[in-house]
């Protein structure tokens, strides 16, 4: 009998020179989950397809099973995936129509595979913390506004000005013009897991 697998704990490390979420396979510890009616992979796939369709339809303005290609990144991420911009573009290239729209059936096809293969898994909180620490040269617990702006708008997959401003509004301590990254990260993580009051 096949079970539905659920991720219980994951770990990976971000050490010197080993920063990569793609090349190093994280070690998962998984536990079987007993599901109600659906059994086997078919049930799992049906469930995944429903999830994908739901997320897709939120952006499907006219209920005609198409979304604007520019929203695909948003949909993929709200399904729990953690791609970078290049990966989003790669996916989009496979399914985008000439007019810039994406059809549900194509998206379903590609996205079901992504979820079944567990690609683009989110990284744990401590990894993010290490990333901030890497930017904090003097290890003082904060990053100056100038450094933050420099790194995020000039390096890697650069932020647009709007993205940078949005982040600064929340992240920056206005009095010192610095980002205390531990607090910031905690703030956002708490927001993420905010759910119905009794339990997660």
């Amino acid at each position: 009998m096949e079970h539905d697998w659920k991720i219980v704990q994951q770990s990976s490390d971000l050490g010197e020179g080993k920063v990569s979420d793609r090349t190093k396979a994280p070690s998962w510890r998984i536990a079987p989950k007993v599901s109600g009616c659906s059994s086997g992979t078919d049930g799992l796939i049906a469930e995944i397809e429903k999830k994908i369709t739901e997320a897709f339809e939120v952006f499907d303005r006219e209920s005609n099973k198409t979304v604007d290609g520019r929203e695909i990144g948003c949909i993929i991420r709200s399904l729990g995936c953690f791609p970078n911009e290049a990966e989003v573009q790669e996916l989009l290239a496979k399914i985008e129509e000439p007019d810039g729209f994406v059809h549900l059936e194509n998206f379903l096809r590609v996205m079901t595979e992504v979820l079944l293969d567990r690609r683009f898994q989110p990284i744990p909180e401590d990894v993010i913390l290490h990333a901030f620490e890497a930017l904090d040269e003097n290890k003082c617990g904060y990053i100056t506004k100038e450094d933050l702006v420099k790194h995020l708008t000039e390096e890697g997959e650069r932020f647009t000005q709007e993205e940078m401003e949005d982040m600064l509004v929340v992240a920056l301590d206005p009095e010192t013009n610095t980002l205390h990254y531990r607090d910031y990260r905690t703030k956002l993580v708490v927001d993420e897991t905010k759910t119905f009051p009794f339990n997660v």
Binding site: V19, S35, G36, E47, N84, I128, E155, E163, P197
Partner: protein, 670 residues
């Protein structure tokens, strides 16, 4: 930065590795940030989705209400109490056509203690400024001036054709505004940004001035005042909410009755007339068509221009000749009764449709075509339709009236009348405007924060003599500092979820029985899949249930939903005996509608109606909706709550008991 000097030494490789790490760290942070922002955006989107679905579902329920009023008028045993509101102008209490300004002056006294604006007719810009100033300071205009203003407005509107033709030849730009829905702040903001109406600054307001917001009256007063001062430069189109039956449910009637305790019936009566005299459309330079809703494949502008527009006071009631026809046909063709089971309520409601498609004659009938029917359909279509990207013209299922029209319908109309652009409103747009049908159709929506603080922007169009549109967006905010996206989304989301939870509570019994069907072993738990299916089928709302699940119900570690947890956090204001849960829920669901009806029956504003009237109304209401409730159960309920005072019921107190309370709210304030 020793990289320049130590380009070849081993110190450079350390620097290189460090900067490599920094870059990787940057990528990670960027990735994580975008991840967080995307999920925030999803929450924002589904919150708006919740608002819209509930709004459209309510509009469908509204159909039930309008049928009920028709039913009441035809069968009610207390004709004086209810039908006074609806009778034709010949009834004595109603404001007469010939009643002029002097009559109002004689009949209504304005006390010296009134410090609001005192209008003198004909109005001038000073009067308009006095009104703006007064409304900014939350003053009310005295009822006499309101009635005078409305009477004058009716006189002026009567002279206007159904379709106004404008030309851009002598003015710079024409400004087109969409739905305002009682948001005075938005109108004031528009005037602030764009200037007051004048000969050099022309405006077209495209309907839906009233309902939902709390300053519908003030918006009308301002718009009508400017209309009287600049009749050639300020133009109004009728919207689907300029309709007394819509106003009953969506707040305008209530607003007027609260603000004008002594004269509200007169005011509403006069307004009913004024609304019916509002022009139906505006055309600029014979190229740009502006109307509130949209078009259909049968839209005939010449026909629309020629009909007597004031005959249709409300579009929610088909014309009398059609109703008589319907009754005739009903006698010949047996119709199925509406289902008596509560669970099917929504199904019955959803299939009803006020478009004329429900009234087409069966094949082979010899009844002549009905001109009133064509008139009604034509106006219904232009006030209620929505554009869609698929070709064709189909009945508008969401709204229950008008149709969905595709790019081909637009193209055909443009070809027939040599048009270039269609500007319409009627639909909420997060950015205040939207362009569709390949640039041919523009939706303009001017009520910012329509659902909730931060939900959307408003916008208006500036149209220059070349007829190229320019959009100006804005958003009114009660917060002085700019709130960040997280805070804004948080507000919208909790508001949306609150509305959704109230709907869940109001359908408790149906939901529980639907859940039970999936819970074969009676464990109290079902799969997420089944839970989602049950929610969607009972509430009839197309929402991302799996995504919302964590906010609505508890899940156990096995991944199953504890379905009763949906209701943990909600309860009614007053505990009702468990023996009558279905009744309590019905009262909960229709609380707003009942409030409206009772307020109308309560002639003297005492807040009390007799037990007899109460029972009668309730019986009619439930029988009409096909709800099966024992005759004496409502009496029992009243007694159990003990609101009976000398054979009268304080209906506000009674209904207050069925207000859904969110326990979390109580916690927050304690």
């Amino acid at each position: 930065m020793g990289s320049i000097i130590g380009a070849m030494g081993c110190s450079s490789s350390v620097a290189d590795r460090r900067s490599e790490n920094v870059i990787r760290a940057a990528i990670l942070i960027q990735k994580w940030y975008r991840f967080t922002m995307a999920r925030l955006e999803m929450r924002r989107r589904y919150s708006l989705s919740i608002f819209q679905s509930i709004e459209y579902a309510d509009e469908q329920d509204q159909l039930q209400l309008s049928n009920f009023f028709t039913f009441m008028l035809d069968h009610c045993t207390h004709p004086e109490s209810v039908s006074q509101i609806f009778t034709s102008p010949s009834a004595p209490q109603v404001v007469d056509e010939d009643l002029c300004l002097k009559e109002f002056e004689k009949k209504i006294d304005v006390p010296d203690s009134y410090y609001g604006p005192r209008l003198s007719f004909p109005l001038t810009v000073e009067d308009a400024n006095a009104l703006l100033h007064a409304f900014r300071n939350e003053q009310l205009l005295h009822a006499r001036y309101v009635l005078q203003l409305l009477s004058e407005t009716r006189r002026v509107l009567k002279e206007m054709p159904n379709i106004t033709h404008l030309s851009t030849s002598y003015s710079k730009e024409i400004t087109v505004c969409g739905d305002l829905h009682g948001n005075l702040d938005d109108l004031l903001l528009i005037f602030y940004k764009n200037g007051l109406p004048s000969e050099q600054n022309r405006y077209v307001f495209n309907g839906d001035f009233v309902d939902r917001g709390k300053n519908s009256m003030e918006i009308l007063i301002i718009l009508f005042a400017f209309l009287l001062i600049y009749p050639n430069d300020l133009h109004l189109n009728r919207g689907n909410h300029e309709d007394y039956i819509m106003n009953l449910r969506y707040g305008f009637t209530k607003e007027v009755s609260k603000k004008y305790k002594d004269h509200w019936k007169q005011i509403l009566c006069l307004l009913r007339d004024v609304f019916s005299w509002l022009p139906l459309a505006t055309i600029i330079d014979s190229k740009v068509l502006i109307l509130h809703g949209g078009i259909s494949d049968t839209t005939d502008l010449d026909f629309l221009n020629a009909l007597e527009r004031n005959k249709l006071k409300s579009l929610m009631r088909p014309p009398k000749s059609v109703r008589n026809r319907q009754d005739q046909m009903k006698k010949r063709i047996p119709t199925t009764k509406p289902s008596k089971h509560i669970a099917n309520q929504h199904v019955a409601g959803k299939t009803q449709h006020i478009s004329s498609s429900g009234f087409t004659e069966p094949p082979g009938s010899n009844l002549p075509p009905d001109p009133a029917l064509k008139e009604w359909k034509q106006i219904l279509d232009i006030l209620w339709s929505d554009p869609r990207s698929q070709n064709g013209c189909t009945p508008n299922k969401c709204r229950g009236g008008g149709c969905y029209f595709g790019p081909d319908v637009t193209a055909k109309l443009f070809e027939r009348y040599n048009l270039k652009m269609l500007i319409r409103s009627h639909e909420f747009k997060p950015e205040g405007y939207e362009i569709s049908h390949d640039g041919k159709v523009i939706t303009i929506f001017s009520a910012s924060n329509y659902y909730e603080e931060g939900s959307n922007r408003g916008a208006y169009i500036k149209l220059n003599p070349e007829l190229t549109p320019r959009f100006v967006q804005y958003q009114v905010s009660k917060f002085t500092r700019r709130r960040n996206l997280r805070e804004r989304v948080g507000t919208i989301e909790s508001s949306a979820l609150k509305s959704l939870r109230e709907k869940i509570y109001a359908h408790r019994s149906e939901l529980i029985s639907a859940f039970a069907q999936y819970d074969i072993n009676g464990t109290g738990r079902i799969s997420v899949n089944d839970w989602a299916a049950a929610m969607e089928s009972v509430l009839q709302l197309e929402l991302p249930w799996r995504m919302l699940r964590s906010q609505l119900a508890q899940m156990n570690p096995d991944g199953e939903v504890d379905f009763m947890s949906c209701f943990y956090d909600l309860k009614m204001g007053q505990p009702i005996k468990e023996a009558q849960p279905a009744l309590a829920e019905t009262l909960c669901r229709y609380r707003k509608d009942l409030e409206i009806i009772f307020n109308i029956i309560d002639k003297d504003h005492s807040g009390l109606i007799s037990l007899e009237e109460f029972s009668q109304t309730w019986r009619l209401f439930t029988s009409h909706l096909g709800i099966d409730i024992e005759d004496d159960s409502i009496d029992k309920l009243v007694l159990s709550i003990d609101y009976n005072k000398d054979g009268h019921i304080d209906f506000n107190e009674f209904l207050e008991a069925f207000h859904v309370v969110h326990r979390l709210e109580k916690k927050a304030t304690s």
